[in-house]
């Protein structure tokens, strides 16, 4: 039998299985709530979740429209992400290239990196206030380490021949940094950026825990105080989808910027 044919057939079986898993879960959810086997507070019915979503989409949640909540969350996320991009990438590349710079920066990163963001968030709030700046700082710190670390690792695993080769072709070390180190690290930079946006996204709800009145994360937290599990579900679905979209966006940019990835 033809291998390709076999592979294709397998893919179809898999797709079917995936689809049926999803459908089965939805069905389970439906029957569980329909037959009132679980309380509405614990698991809202699919119908309720959909209507709550429509309701929120139409008239917002607590004084603000759904777009404002989503927008505010994204503004926090994207501001901090851009800050990460313009600081962590250059710093990481320089520290990867220059062991002295690394010696200065590394101990700081290594210390804060394993800390739970919520632990230092209390300090950030004391230092920067309860407004957006402490929230953005939290997301920034969460996203900084992965990008920094993968830039350093990227520089360090550049083939020595790439560098040596450039010298024998007449480049000086400044030229090598811009014309060899930077492009050679692009794949690692993107790995770092994808991790960073994931981590920052994961920290979003924590950031919106203190003194926020908008944001998808805040919406979920607020809803939990009023046992509105339908709204928690809506929020979680929105977050799931947004998270996948954000990741997809970076992946698209990546494939444009580094067409050679995985083909070396």
């Amino acid at each position: 039998m033809n291998i390709a044919y076999f592979v294709r057939k397998q893919v179809t079986v898999e797709r079917l299985l995936t689809a049926s898993t999803v459908i089965l879960l939805l069905l389970l959810w439906y029957t569980l709530t329909e037959l009132k086997l679980v309380s509405d507070i614990v698991v809202p019915s699919p119908y309720k979740v959909v209507t709550s979503f429509l309701e929120i989409a139409r008239s917002g949640y607590k004084d603000n429209s759904l777009l404002v909540h989503l927008g505010d969350s994204l503004v926090r996320l994207i501001t901090s992400f851009l800050l990460v991009v313009i600081t962590a990438i250059p710093l990481g590349l320089v520290c990867g290239y220059n062991s002295k710079a690394r010696a200065i920066v590394d101990p700081l990163i290594e210390f804060y990196r394993p800390l739970p963001p919520l632990a230092y968030y209390t300090l950030l709030v004391l230092w920067m206030g309860i407004e957006n700046s402490s929230k953005i700082a939290l997301l920034y710190l969460a996203g900084f380490a992965p990008v920094y670390l993968s830039c350093v690792a990227g520089v360090q695993k550049i083939k020595k021949d790439y560098i040596d080769g450039a010298y024998t072709l007449g480049a000086n070390s400044r030229q090598i940094f811009f014309h060899v180190v930077f492009p050679a690290c692009l794949p690692d930079i993107f790995i770092g950026l994808r991790t960073a946006i994931g981590v920052a996204y994961t920290t979003l709800v924590a950031a919106e825990m203190v003194a926020a009145v908008t944001g998808i994360g805040w919406m979920v937290l607020d809803a939990s105080k009023f046992l509105r599990s339908d709204i928690i579900f809506v929020g979680i679905f929105i977050m799931g989808i947004t998270g996948i979209l954000l990741d997809g966006m970076i992946r698209t940019i990546e494939s444009k910027v580094i067409p050679w990835k995985g083909k070396e």
Partner: protein
């Protein structure tokens, strides 16, 4: 660049001179990778370096290139100590480190760009050398779209376009199959002939060394020393048609046997 030496013989100018060079990779100086190497490359020579695996061939090349400094002894080019890599000594690596983010043309132009050669000039030069290695149609391809042999040719063009005084090649054809390999040998021989540059060529293939070099150097196993130097002329004689006749001439086979015995005589790493 001719010079008359003390004995009154006519001699070509010395380009590279290693004097009593030793190198140890760890601070323990007893554990030398190279020991007491004296080596001179004169203008226009094609020197082939042979030796058992791990004997320090690549190390020697790296010292000449300027990637590492010897632990003892001196390495000199044109009378100046070698201090770091520069474009006067081009290097062709076993695995050509082409930049995957640049296409063939840009890769070949890389050195010219770094050296601030005007764009139109470097463009012209790059095209010339891409033609020489027969890759005109592929000049806009990315390295990952090329086969191993094509990559190696780009790497060679990239080194040559810079017109280095010295070309250092470290088993450049190690990964190629027998046929492609033979074509590449012809290419290098022709380019050497045309450009009159000085070449140091590492290989572990005795036939290749004999059929390319004007001089063949055999090294001992670790710690690497120079065991023997042989002057050869086969490279002038080999060309297209008569290649097999030269290669299986008695003289060739004799030298071949001699070199193999030299290497064999040393204790072997793997014993059956």
């Amino acid at each position: 660049m001719m010079a008359v030496d003390g004995q009154g013989r006519l001699e070509k100018a010395v380009v590279i001179a290693l004097k009593d060079v030793s190198l140890s990779y760890n601070s323990n100086r007893d554990d030398n990778a190279l020991e007491h190497i004296d080596l001179t490359l004169t203008e226009g020579e094609f020197v082939c370096l042979l030796g058992p695996s791990g004997c320090g061939k690549s190390t020697l090349l790296k010292i000449i290139a300027g990637f590492i400094s010897p632990t003892a002894g001196t390495a000199v080019m044109d009378g100046e100590p070698i201090n770091g890599a520069d474009w006067h000594r081009g290097v062709v690596f076993q695995q050509p480190p082409l930049y995957p983010w640049l296409n063939v043309m840009e890769n070949v132009m890389f050195g010219l760009k770094m050296r601030n050669i005007p764009v139109h000039e470097s463009h012209r030069l790059a095209e010339e050398y891409i033609d020489k290695v027969g890759l005109r149609e592929f000049r806009h391809s990315k390295p990952y779209e090329l086969s191993g042999g094509m990559k190696q040719r780009v790497a060679i063009a990239r080194s040559l376009v810079n017109k280095p005084r010295v070309l250092l090649m470290d088993e450049p054809f190690g990964a190629l199959d027998a046929l492609t390999r033979e074509q590449m040998q012809t290419l290098v021989r022709n380019i050497w002939w045309d450009s009159k540059c000085t070449i140091l060529f590492i290989t572990h293939d005795v036939d290749e060394a004999l059929s390319l070099g004007t001089r063949v150097i055999v090294m001992s196993k670790r710690p690497g020393r120079i065991l023997r130097e042989l002057n050869t002329e086969f490279t002038y004689k080999i060309s297209g048609d008569n290649s097999n006749r030269t290669r299986y001439s008695d003289q060739f086979l004799e030298l071949r046997e001699e070199v193999l015995n030299l290497i064999n005589r040393q204790e072997l790493m793997y014993q059956v």
